[in-house]
């Protein structure tokens, strides 16, 4: 018996160990490498080693200048803020579009649900780059979307709200950037929401109705709170990659839309300043991870309190 439980425990450890090993090898280790670069000195071609032997003495050289510079130049701070702003707007829009979509998909006839699910995933069959690039054609002057919006004079209200720089110019504006990001990340909102809403016990809505709740009230008091986990999962899946997004701002963004991904690229390839680029990356990861960890902890505590 003892050996059996020992074996079971070992088995369990190794099963849990696989993802942890994965995280250590492909996340923690690269992160440490990036961190190391951020505190190194830039050589001519690549960074110098932090450890060096000089006159038979092992020397550890850590430079904090990149971090200091990050706080001095407010370009970085502004860019972080702007990245978070666009990621948040994208997340909210994805939620606003994705929630009703997932809701009706989950309530659709069981026979057509797989087809609807397939339609959501269909864009993945085309290269992400091509799909983003295609928006260029649609939003550029005389593109279909451009024609539709200008014909309806919607470009004027967009310009009024400073979402585009001037009427008749849609490309390389906050508007085009957000369109591209919402379009790309919408499936990541829909899928977790759909799987959550499809599992919902519909009798709860009947119970709410029976107790005097109108369908609208029942939706806000029962459906929405019960889909909280799906809303959180979908929002994370959209928000986190959006903060660090590089390709979409590069292709669809403009001078107004500062995104941290582009700054990072510039530091690496234009300035050839690896430590600065790594610093930007490390701070970005911390900016995302720390609030997440706090949130998770708060969630766990709330759950414990309830139990």
């Amino acid at each position: 018996m003892k050996t059996f439980f020992g074996w079971l425990r070992r088995g369990r450890t190794s099963v849990i160990g696989v993802p942890y090993l994965w995280l250590v090898v492909f996340f923690l280790f690269p992160f440490l490498v990036v961190f190391k670069i951020s505190v190194s000195e830039m050589g001519t071609v690549s960074v110098n080693d932090v450890l060096s032997i000089k006159d038979g003495v092992l020397q550890l050289t850590l430079r904090g200048t990149s971090y200091a510079f990050l706080t001095q130049d407010d370009l970085y701070f502004k860019t972080y803020l702007s990245s978070i702003k666009y990621a948040a707007i994208t997340t909210l829009l994805c939620l606003a579009i994705g929630y009703p979509f997932s809701y009706f998909m989950a309530r659709a006839k069981a026979t057509i649900q797989p087809a609807l699910l397939m339609l959501v995933m269909l864009p993945f069959w085309t290269s992400f780059l091509l799909r983003v690039y295609a928006w260029k054609g649609l939003l550029d002057e005389n593109g279909w979307v451009w024609r539709a919006l200008t014909a309806l004079h919607l470009d004027q209200s967009l310009a009024y709200f400073e979402l585009i720089s001037a009427p008749g110019k849609l490309m390389n504006t906050p508007f085009s950037l957000v369109i591209g990001m919402v379009y790309t990340y919408l499936p990541f909102m829909i899928l977790p929401l759909y799987s959550n809403l499809a599992k919902m016990d519909l009798r709860l809505l009947e119970a709410a109705s029976d107790l005097g709740a109108t369908p609208w009230k029942a939706f806000w008091l029962i459906t929405v709170p019960l889909s909280k986990a799906g809303i959180i999962a979908g929002s994370m899946l959209v928000f986190i990659p959006c903060v660090g997004e590089f390709v979409i701002p590069e292709l669809l963004g403009g001078p107004q839309t500062l995104m941290i991904g582009r700054v990072l690229w510039d530091e690496f390839f234009s300035n050839n300043d690896w430590p600065m680029a790594s610093t930007v990356a490390v701070v970005m990861i911390l900016l995302i991870i720390v609030p997440l960890a706090v949130f998770n902890r708060y969630q766990a505590e709330a759950q414990e309190k309830a139990a």
Binding site: D201, R203, L204, E206, A207, A208, S209, D210, L211, G212, A213, T214, K217, L221, I222, P225, L226, K228, A306, A307
Partner: protein, 373 residues
């Protein structure tokens, strides 16, 4: 049918179900059902799954719309009234408690929808918690409660709004047997304390018999018989009802002689002397139903008054011991099986009947039911 005979014809019943039909694209789940239910009554719809009882209940709640017919509650026609406007609350099968709300908030849910003032609402919820003895659990979430506690929360939630009519969908179906028996009585006590009119749906005849004041037996969308539990059990109207409720020995026979005060029915293995007259003609085919507990079993030929009627000899093929009683399966000459239930009044009995023994079964002329349909 029998339903209307209970209520005086002059005053309209509290709940009237009048010739209601529910047609699911050609399939009549509920087929011309009429029922009158009095105020304060606990009424059970009993039937196996798919008999239409749940559809009927859902039409009362407003989740389904009748294809034809009228439902009138307390003088008010419910047609076209959505569930959230009906003065009716339902206790759902496996409860459908809101998992994200505490016990307190679950009970308060309906009251809040009515916009009840805060202090009055708190008072009502506290009273409900007290009624179902869950005061200590007000802050818990449903998943932190046992099955029995969840059931009581569901009861409190559906009673909180003081509905004119309460619906119970398999109220005890999710509980295990022991708890179910205790809860049946408790549930009836609470319902009677509140004095609410109830319609319950169940497939469990024991549940229907212990809880309800009247039962309607349903099959294939129709009501076969309505009556008090003892009426349904002792004087079933049809073969289906006799067979559905409890255990029964069904024997096919022909009406041999028909007197005003008794009839003789000839069956394959024995003849029956039935101590009451029936409406029928001599020679017609009838069924005789005898409950296993109404049959006596002994080794010697019984010398009953109606001899040679009302007795039969057979071999014990099987016996099932249930503790308080034993059921013997008697193989008769024709190959038919006769179930005989004997209560185990004493702990040991000399000369206990057992497998392979030959024994005589006998019954009194008041124990049979003659069924013509």
């Amino acid at each position: 049918m029998a339903a209307s005979t209970d209520a005086p014809a002059t005053t309209a019943a509290y709940l009237q179900i009048h010739d209601v039909v529910k047609d699911f694209s050609g399939y009549k789940a509920v087929n011309h059902v009429s029922l009158d239910i009095a105020k304060g009554e606990i009424f059970a719809l009993l039937g196996s799954s798919g008999c239409g009882k749940t559809t009927l209940l859902r039409m009362l709640a407003g989740f389904e719309t009748p294809s034809a017919g009228r439902i009138v509650l307390n003088g008010q026609d419910l047609a076209g009234m959505p569930p959230y406007e009906r003065p009716i609350n339902m206790m759902f099968q496996s409860y459908a408690l809101f998992p994200h709300l505490t016990v307190w908030d679950n009970i308060a849910f309906g009251l809040k929808r009515d916009g009840m003032p805060r202090d009055k609402l708190a008072e009502r919820v506290e009273a409900m918690l007290k009624l179902v003895q869950l005061g200590k659990f007000a802050k818990r979430k449903p998943h932190q409660l046992s099955g029995g506690q969840q059931q009581r929360v569901a009861l409190a939630r559906s009673l909180a709004k003081r509905p004119q009519l309460m619906l119970l969908d398999e109220p005890l179906g999710a509980l295990d047997k022991k708890l179910r028996e205790e809860t049946q009585i408790e549930l009836v006590n609470i319902i009677e304390e509140v004095g609410v009119t109830c319609v319950m749906v169940t497939h469990d005849q024991e549940e229907a018999m212990t809880m309800a004041s009247r039962i309607a037996v349903m099959s294939e969308g129709r009501i076969l018989q309505v009556g008090a539990p003892s009426d349904i059990y002792e004087t079933p109207a049809t073969r289906f009802v006799a067979d559905f409720i409890g255990n029964v020995n069904m024997m096919e026979g022909t009406l041999q002689s028909d007197y005003p005060d008794h009839v003789i029915v000839e069956c394959a293995d024995c003849s029956h002397y039935v101590g009451h007259g029936i409406t029928g003609t001599e020679g017609m085919a009838v069924s005789i139903a005898v409950r296993p507990e109404k049959i006596a079993l002994q080794r010697e030929m019984p010398a009953n008054e109606q001899a040679p009627h009302n007795r039969v000899q057979g071999t014990i093929k099987d016996l099932a011991y249930f503790g308080s009683f034993t059921v013997y399966h008697l193989l008769l000459a024709s190959g038919a099986m006769l179930k005989v239930s004997q209560s185990n009044a004493s702990r040991h009995r000399d000369d206990q009947l057992t497998w392979g023994d030959t024994a005589w079964a006998s019954w009194s002329p008041t124990s049979q039911v003659v069924l013509t349909q």
